[in-house]
Amino acid sequence: MSEVLEPTKNEEALIAVMDQNPVQPMPTESPMHHLKLGARSQGSNVPTVYAGELGLKGHLVIRGDADNSDFRKGVEVALGLGLTDTLQSAESDSLSISWLAPDEWLVICPLDEAFAVETALRNSLKGHYSVVNVSGGQTVVRLTGANAVNVLKKSSPYDFHETHFPVGKVVTTLFGKTQAVIRRKDKETWDLVIRRSFADYAWRWLEDAASEYGFQVADNLA
């Protein structure tokens, strides 16, 4: 198997693959860094909604033909997780994969593993596909608590009732006047993937919508 482990020269010339992790760790700022979430005042009444920004993650967008068994296999080999079906997600200890479109999936992994995962994918995939590192472009907000679902109902026209949105389902839909990829992690916990430039708005919206239920910023949700 060793020969497939490193990309062939030819591959490199075709696609500019880039390890985006510094050799030495460098200071980072997450999309919500400026909001100083830790320091934000919390609602007076007893919290029934908690939310926080998960630290920086590796985000990879995979594109390819779901009906191509080589592609399916290749992804499974590389990730140890198979492509998920329409509106479905799967996760392992370090990875999650979410369906975004019939030919598009989002893989979230630890930030410093993004290149390793991309390389693994490129090593095991051939033909027409693409892998794009978008780690800097989005962030994950984890929303939990008894009233989390009501915050979502205020924010999106989607039906979040468990008969319609069971654990593991993932949808891209409206969030206020921006959008989010929303995944149900468990009965009361939801992960929202938000684009960096909208993060400030999304957080303020969320805080505002949650305030009446008693809202608390939580940084230990991961």
């Binding site: 329409t86 509106l87 975004l100 479109a101 019939p102 026209p157 989607y158 891209t172 839909t173």
Partner: protein, 102 residues
């Protein structure tokens, strides 16, 4: 507000997630350079604008970003059929009227 079935997400979504993209099945002329101004103008601007069944294109903009076709009654706003790019409608004004006469 419409409730539109996305054939790629395989469920109904609110109209707010979509953009209407106008008449469906308009094909770009194979050889534009050989088109007359008239032909090109019709491709650019002239549209079917029926009162009744209309085949139109929508995109699931806040969602899977896929374009698809919708057959909708422009009077009652009923959606009769949704089908993917490259597919043909099974419900048309012609076969509807035919069905009525039958």
């Amino acid at each position: 507000m419409f409730y539109i079935y996305c054939p790629y997400c395989k469920e109904h979504r609110e109209e707010e997630e979509f953009h209407a993209k106008g008449q469906a099945h308009i094909e770009r002329p194979a050889d534009p350079d050989s088109c007359t101004d008239k032909e090109w103008g019709e491709y650019l601007y002239f549209r079917k604008n029926p009162r009744g069944l209309h085949h139109e294109m929508w995109v699931h903009a806040v969602g899977c970003r896929k374009f698809f076709n919708v057959t909708r009654d422009t009077q009652t706003y009923e959606i009769k059929e949704v089908y993917k790019m490259g597919e043909r409608p099974t419900i048309t004004a012609q076969n509807q009227t035919a069905a009525k006469q039958a």
